[in-house]
């Protein structure tokens, strides 16, 4: 089965509505995305509720601490846990970020920026191949929001992302909000980014809100998706066609119905751009 339609990030606050008595509560939500780390090696209510949602909806897995770009060795225990979770959940797609999260055995729990160099590209591509081997599944890398770039950079971020995915033969989770945030922070063309990413590798799209500080933007996922990010999403839909798309909300989390309404707005944009007939 190929993932289709529009999804939401699964958050514990919404379990009562999703699993409650109202069978229409999640109308318009075609699938959910889980944060992998929240369910690796755990049981009890978190796992029980997540699997109850899984019984009713397709699911994708999204990680935050694979640290694919770190010069520390890949964490074998983490990969083992990730594989066990994937074997349980049977996700349609599985992803993590094109970043690093720590070195020397430490974890900063942040998505830290990589220098955009040949050395980094080769390092990451080699590790993605290993991850795909261990998981026995295709893997997606997501572009992150960044707040600095490096003097050492040798290429654009979209060249970096595309080259890694070509070498590793992996797919792309394209975060349109992150393109906006990084484009604003570093002054690159967001449209050039979209045009520079290979259409055949983009298998999922993320949308989110952020904190605009005037001279720079921080990717906070604590607000609705702003209109100017939705405008960029419309351009992405034109280029990539219909790609499974979801809203991430990680803070200041509203009632479930509010996110469902927001997701319907995203669906309308995609239908408008693709001239699709509403279901």
């Amino acid at each position: 089965m190929t993932l289709q339609g529009f999804g939401l990030g699964l958050r514990p606050q919404h379990f009562p509505e999703i699993l409650g008595d109202d069978p229409n509560a999640a109308d318009g939500v075609d699938w959910f995305e889980i944060i992998s780390e929240n369910f690796i090696g755990v049981g009890g209510p978190p796992l029980h509720n997540m699997m109850a949602v899984r019984e009713r909806f397709p699911m994708v897995m999204h990680g935050v601490s694979l640290s694919i770009g770190s010069t520390d060795p890949l964490d074998g225990n983490y990969l083992k846990g990730l594989k066990e979770l994937a074997d349980l959940v049977e996700p349609e797609l599985i992803s993590d970020h094109l970043c690093w999260t720590g070195v020397h055995g430490l974890n900063m729990h942040d998505l830290l920026p990589l220098p955009l160099t040949e050395e980094s590209a080769e390092h990451v591509a080699t590790r993605v191949m290993r991850v795909q081997d261990v998981l026995g599944r295709r893997f997606m890398l997501e572009n992150t929001s960044t707040y600095v770039t490096f003097e050492e950079d040798e290429m654009t971020e979209w060249e970096f992302l595309s080259e890694i995915c070509r070498r590793a033969d992996c797919d792309i989770l394209l975060d349109v909000n992150n393109i906006y945030v990084s484009g604003f922070n570093h002054g690159f063309s967001m449209e050039a980014y979209l045009d520079g990413v290979p259409t055949d590798r983009v298998k999922q799209i993320h949308l989110a809100g952020h904190e605009h500080n005037g001279d720079y933007i921080v990717d906070t996922h604590d607000e609705p998706v702003p209109d100017y990010v939705l405008d960029l999403y419309a351009k992405a839909v034109k280029r990539f066609g219909h790609v499974p798309t979801m809203i991430e909300r990680d803070a200041n989390i509203p009632p479930f119905a509010e996110l469902v309404r927001e997701l319907k707005g995203v669906r309308l944009i995609a239908e408008r751009e693709l001239d699709m007939v509403p279901a």
């Binding site: 780390e37 049981g43 009890g44 010069t71 020397h104 729990h109 942040d110 050395e119 600095v148």
Partner: protein, 263 residues
């Protein structure tokens, strides 16, 4: 002055951990927005810990609580993939801290809350039922060893913090501060097998010692000896068997074994 990926990552991490400025010449345009990373590191970790230690937060108040967490984060940078485990050293760190250790109720509260958190989302496992115990032949009992559900955790406390904790969770004013014990008391927390809610209670001294021994693989015979130190020798086996039945009824046991046999 091009730096390798490994060197850039070391310098970048040193900036987050120690405000080291070696990374600065490598940041394009001087890295005007580096502050976004500087700020996020401590803020994120403290936010996670705040969710895990509501009782401690109420005990200390905002100012002291966040001061304490800042010191803890500096002392124990995360080494795990999930933020779930950030607070695992907090009880011992508080106990051994020159400053915070002067207030032993803090370590008791942290240990209590950490225990409850572990019970909440520990891995699932299939339980042993009472009927299983009845299948064990009498001659096998002395050599029995026991395996416990992953959700069962214990904490040995200097203070009774339970009422204060419940007030903090309920968002109401506590009736009073945590109450010091004359001697330490061990509490157990576990997940109810059907409802999946976290249960907790304190244990009498002999039960705490018996449980500790059983968790370390001591046989039923050895557990009886421990219990005998607290009761009439003739009643030790009855008391130990009663403890076992209580553990089974509570959903604590997942395995009963003896010399290669399992029930």
């Amino acid at each position: 002055m091009s730096a390798s990926l490994a060197d850039l990552q070391s310098m970048f991490q040193d900036r987050l951990l120690r405000a080291d400025d070696a990374i600065d010449p490598h940041l394009a345009n001087g890295g005007p927005f580096m502050k976004a990373y500087d700020h996020a590191y401590r803020a994120r970790l403290i936010e996670i810990l705040t969710e895990d230690f509501e009782g401690l937060h109420l005990l200390l108040g905002d100012e002291q609580f966040f001061k304490m967490l800042g010191e803890y984060v500096d002392a124990h940078p995360s080494t795990t993939r999930s933020v779930r485990w950030l607070g695992r050293y907090l009880p011992d760190w508080l106990k051994n801290s020159e400053n915070w250790g002067k207030h032993p109720e803090l370590a008791s509260m942290a240990a209590f809350e950490w225990m409850l958190g572990l019970a909440f989302d520990a891995a699932d496992a299939r339980l042993v039922g009472v009927e299983t115990m009845t299948r064990v032949p009498p001659e096998a009992w002395p050599m029995l060893t026991f395996t416990f559900h992953p959700s069962l955790h214990t904490a040995t406390l200097d203070f009774d913090v339970s009422a204060f904790y419940r007030a903090a969770k309920a968002g109401v004013d506590p009736d009073g501060p945590p109450i010091p014990y004359d001697a330490t008391v061990t509490w157990a927390a576990w997940r109810h097998p059907e409802d999946l809610i976290v249960m907790y209670r304190f244990m009498e001294k002999d039960e705490a010692m018996a449980l500790d021994a059983a968790q370390k693989g001591i046989t039923f015979d050895g557990i009886c000896e421990i219990v005998a130190g607290h009761t009439d020798a003739d009643e030790a086996a009855v008391r130990a068997a009663g403890l076992m039945k209580g553990w089974v009824d509570s959903g604590w046991l997942i395995g009963i074994d003896a010399e290669g046999m399992s029930w």
